[in-house]
Symmetry: C2
Subunit: 253 residues, 2 copies
Amino acid sequence: MSTPTPDQTLPEGAFLQGLQSLRAACSNCNLRELCLPVGLSADEMQRVDELVRTRRQVLRGEHLFRTGDAFHSLVAVRTGFFKTKVLLADGREQVTGFHMAGEVIGLDGIGNERHTCDAVALEDSEVCVLPYGRLAGLSREVEALHRRLHQIMSSEIVREHGVMLLLGSMRAGERVVAFLLNLSRRLAMRGYSERDLHLRMTREELGSYLGVKLETVSRALSKLQADGLLEVSRRNVRLLDLPALRALLAKSE
Amino acid sequence: MSTPTPDQTLPEGAFLQGLQSLRAACSNCNLRELCLPVGLSADEMQRVDELVRTRRQVLRGEHLFRTGDAFHSLVAVRTGFFKTKVLLADGREQVTGFHMAGEVIGLDGIGNERHTCDAVALEDSEVCVLPYGRLAGLSREVEALHRRLHQIMSSEIVREHGVMLLLGSMRAGERVVAFLLNLSRRLAMRGYSERDLHLRMTREELGSYLGVKLETVSRALSKLQADGLLEVSRRNVRLLDLPALRALLAKSE
DNA sequence: CAAGCTTGTTGATCCAAGTCAATGCGATGG
DNA sequence: CCATCGCATTGACTTGGATCAACAAGCTTG
């Protein structure tokens, strides 16, 4: 795996059992600047720690939840990578998002106590389980947490507006570029290179997300490579000319 | 206007000034079973009444808010019809939703205190202004309101998943049918006919929402009419065979 | 009520992306 | 170490929807 892992702090076999609880705390998690506890004071974060006890391992290909599952918890991605997808009656599926460390999934379940989409790990991953009832309860006591929850949901709405714009108004090549730049930005926020991307999904999954066929994704990438804007080798993409890529989106070619 | 108005309870020129506050109350609003106060007890609803004082008239074509505007309030549509849209740098726009009585708009602004889309009235409308700060404050005291706010945001996320499915995985004809059935259901929930629809948007706006061109919308409607599934006359649509229309979506043709 | 908009319909043509098919290439496992 | 399998690429051909264009049908407005 060519990508560095952000999580080197915690030896897998911590020999003091007591360390387990410390291990599952937001307070000393390196994602705390990105994840649920943004905007919380040290005190407040400790109160959140008390309910974020459970971590869960999800292996590549496993479902975190499925459409129809009862909703109990949100989950924050700690390591790894997920896709969420919705299904049409005849089996067609639409990937609605890709989710990485520090992002919260499961918001769709709050409304009617059932999940309305599937979440699948695209690589071996670890998530923090956030029991919704307790989270909601605490958020009525801790204003910053209340705000943060609203903010997370609102941001998800805004993100989806962006996807709708992409699906409804862009051509295939633009969609691919928009996706790559979005991924680049999210990786940069986490301290990774904004130029060297390792795609965690197949061309088919990416195509589903972008509303095009896998061959179209492949051709779009080849075209961008031919134009000298990036290098592709299977799932590794190096963005060679970020300004030019951004310009492709700024004005419609 | 061929559509009945749901609001016949309140004479425009109420002669007792005191009635104004009563007028702007959720407690005696006929939309209370659909709108913000769903799930609230009578007592709780009265507490919400105290912050939902302001109504605002928005004329056809007027903006309720614009991208970049500072965010202060959510708004609940009381009468009328709105579209929300996002813009691309080069001017292309994507309609992200159509909003009718009882629906709450402006959730996109919570995340970063600025609106990220435009909301425009498609007919003369009236909205209830819900000052966000006070709403958030009250929701920390009134648990049912807290739950309801989360539910509204979650439902919006789920709605958008549906639009992504539509934009990413359906063909033009299916998109039009999905839209009509969705509108039909929402009208039925409000006590209107599920068969007689009056579209409030142009073919172009509908096309933008559906990710196709206006001519394609027009052709799809003509095709459905030729097949005997509905009648179209400009903006009036009568659904003649709801089961058949639903079947078009259930299995891919 | 005629002139001029805006909106909607329909036809003819074109092209971006879909479909179908062959090939390549890395990983995995017997 | 070779066979297999899943994933990706590329080419040839097709097609659904876009584009361009003409026209119709309501509305405004003078």
